[in-house]
Amino acid sequence: MREPLKSENDLCWGGKKREYPADVKRWLQVMAERGWTAPTWPECYGGGGLSKARAKVLAEEMARLGLRPALFGVALTMIGPLLLQEGSEEQKRRHIPAIVRGERLWCQGYSEPGAGSDLASLQTGAVADGDDFILNGQKIWTSLADKADWMFLLARTDPQAKKGEGITFLLMDMESAGVTVRPIKLIAGNSHFCETFFTDVRVPRENVVGRINGGWSIAKALLGFERSAIGGMFKKERPEGDPLVALARRYIDASEKEIGDPMVRDRITRIRMDQKRLEFTLARTAENAKAGHKPGPESSILKYYGSELNMRRQELIQSILGPHALGWSGEGVDPREVRMTKEWLRSRGNSIEGGTSEIQLNIIAKRVLGLPE
């Protein structure tokens, strides 16, 4: 467990449908027994019960030893914290310990084909029927739905209500009858995204989080968790030196001095400086949070700027590769180069997923700057 991760595929997402290598399973078990897959969660639900300070020590110690986290995923970053904050006692008992043990892989059913950035206009409907809701509709961008055991989702339970109202937050077992999943192929190739279809799926009432028709406030609480998680994605430690500089030396000129193409050198500098500014801003946000100042909507600049910066970085890598960026398949095509080109294609989605850049700018204008509607 001390080998560096090579790709997303090396991560352990848990769940019953995926097989993991023996050492990964063993490591998960060892950590889960101590509750250290979720170190700050309460012990009574199987968590580590550590204070934030002690959890930090644990994380630092693991990083020092080069140990990788035993478990990843939205269960730990989103639905777990949400249930601990908003769930019923029953729901906590049922789901939290299983999440800690990595037994359940969760996916998120938010977006719909007709409602990307506009969550309030969703179409998937849930009609009460005895102790159940009957669910019909379709979700898109359900990451890992084909591997997931459970889904949390938003459904319209009162079609008469105004757009933002009449929505309920539900937990759904992916084994339920009437659930169909279809993986989505992206422009960069295969992805973990899926489409999920519901045909008369029965969801017991006990799986409602919060009030019936009160899903909007639950969704907003969840969005906060998501945004900070995405912001975090862009902070990458690169102890092995700047890969942009290394690429420029490989593809443009091999000297150890000034990079031969001054335009590329300047673009690298811009990206590096902007990365630095973003890292400082992340630290500022984190320290302010620690100091008890609540992270306000200005954290939107992290998502917005982090996305745009990564996209610029990928554009620059394409420029450095030059004609070497063109290969896709066939003998003699360097798979590392193909991977970089696919990363560029994939990066075009950064400014779309998790709230488009346009939505982020709207939020800043409204909530931070107070500009009128």
Binding site: G330, T356, S357, E358
Partner: protein
């Protein structure tokens, strides 16, 4: 009145547009990709294009062509670009035929050009090498005198349509060192020749190219195209013309991507209204429109200069290529962004334009390379 299309040009554009619509579709492009079609384009469509006179349109009538110019060619290439048509205009009409037209001997012209114009002969140009990026003068492939002919040895990459070409033009160094302008000679070889290894590769935009290894390929004196040692200048002239054709193609493709996006802005609803009502998107669409119109002007200005053989034409080729590269990438990026999540799926067609934008940018020199070239040409 050179920026105003003539009656004939408008008719040609119309014909080309109708042809693309009736013979092709983005679905065909997708099928060619997904079926891993060995040819990568349709030989039937190519034959029809030849019959319509487009394959040989730049050639004199004596050579079997229609003696038209680059402004005329633009009418056709733009429409082919709209449909992302992969038929081998760039390799055969723009690189191959131009090489023979500009540098070929009487015998070579007579042998090759009419066959090209009839759509019977595909010709590719192998000038790029793995270490040379975009520079046509970086040539490590060597041609050494051997008996009464030459022996070619080296490696070429990114040879457009090299996998199906009946003849391949190869740049090889006959003197000087790696990046010298002087000392490069063009040879015409038959890929079935002993020692030629053609390796098929698919690019990001699913067009097909070849990397080619030459292991002591023996050719005789008659294989030389153009003045020996002076192939560098010939190459530049060929590439200028091919770039003109590529720019027109890019213009068509970016226009199609923009129209697709504009349509989406008008029909896709969010928060209860069409997203095209949002002013921020409106302004970005207007800026994109401006860039596309400026690119169109640049392409037209370049074509005039080529048609009139003006001295500053090469610099204008760079202006057009920079304009088209930047505007096409912007159109593709904004296209994906404005389509939102659906634009990221392989199922949607907008991604094809994004991929073509990248590949076209990297063909015949990217924007940075052309800006540097322009400054050199203009002497500062």
């Amino acid at each position: 009145m050179s920026f105003v299309l003539s009656q004939e040009q408008r008719l040609l554009k119309q014909t080309a547009g109708d042809f693309v619509k009736s013979r092709s579709s983005l679905k065909r492009i997708r099928t060619l990709r997904d079926s891993a079609d060995a040819t990568g384009f349709s030989r039937d469509i190519w034959r029809e294009m030849a019959e319509l006179g487009w394959v040989g349109m730049l050639l004199p009538e004596d050579d079997g062509g229609s003696a038209l110019g680059y402004m005329d060619l633009m009418m056709v290439m733009e429409e082919l670009g709209r449909g992302l048509m992969p038929e081998p205009m760039l390799s055969t009409t723009l690189l191959g035929a131009n090489a023979v037209l500009l540098g070929g001997s009487e015998a070579q012209r007579r042998e090759l050009l009419p066959a090209i114009a009839r759509g019977e002969l595909l010709v590719a140009l192998a000038y790029q090498e793995p270490s040379g990026r975009f520079d046509p003068h970086t040539v490590q492939t060597t041609a050494e005198p051997s008996g009464r002919g030459w022996k070619l040895r080296g490696e070429k990459c990114l040879v457009l349509d090299g996998h199906v070409a009946d003849r391949i033009l190869v740049s090889a160094r006959t003197s000087g060192s790696i990046a010298d302008r002087h000392g490069v000679t063009l040879f015409l070889i038959d890929p079935r020749e002993h020692g030629v290894l053609v390796n098929r590769q698919m690019l990001v935009d699913s067009r097909i190219v070849a990397s080619i290894r030459l292991s002591d390929v023996a050719v005789d004196e008659s294989a030389i195209v153009g003045e020996p040692e002076n192939g560098g200048n010939l190459l530049e002239a060929i590439l200028d013309r091919a770039t003109a054709g590529l720019c027109a193609e890019m213009l068509g493709a970016m226009s199609a991507a923009f129209e697709m996006t504009l349509e989406y802005l008008k029909t896709r609803k969010q928060f209860g209204v069409a997203i095209g009502t949002f002013q921020a998107l409106k302004h970005r669409a207007a800026i994109l429109y401006t860039e596309i119109e400026l690119a169109r002007s640049a392409v037209m200005g370049m074509n005039q200069a080529l048609d009139e053989a003006r001295p500053g034409a090469s610099a204008l080729v760079s202006v057009a290529k920079v304009s088209c590269s930047d505007a096409f990438l912007l159109a593709a990026n904004e296209g994906v962004q404005m389509h939102g999540g659906i634009g990221m799926t392989d199922e949607h067609d907008i991604g094809f334009f994004l991929k073509r934008a990248r590949a076209a940018e990297m063909t015949f020199g990217d924007a940075a390379w052309h800006r540097r070239r322009y400054a050199e040409l203009e002497g500062y």
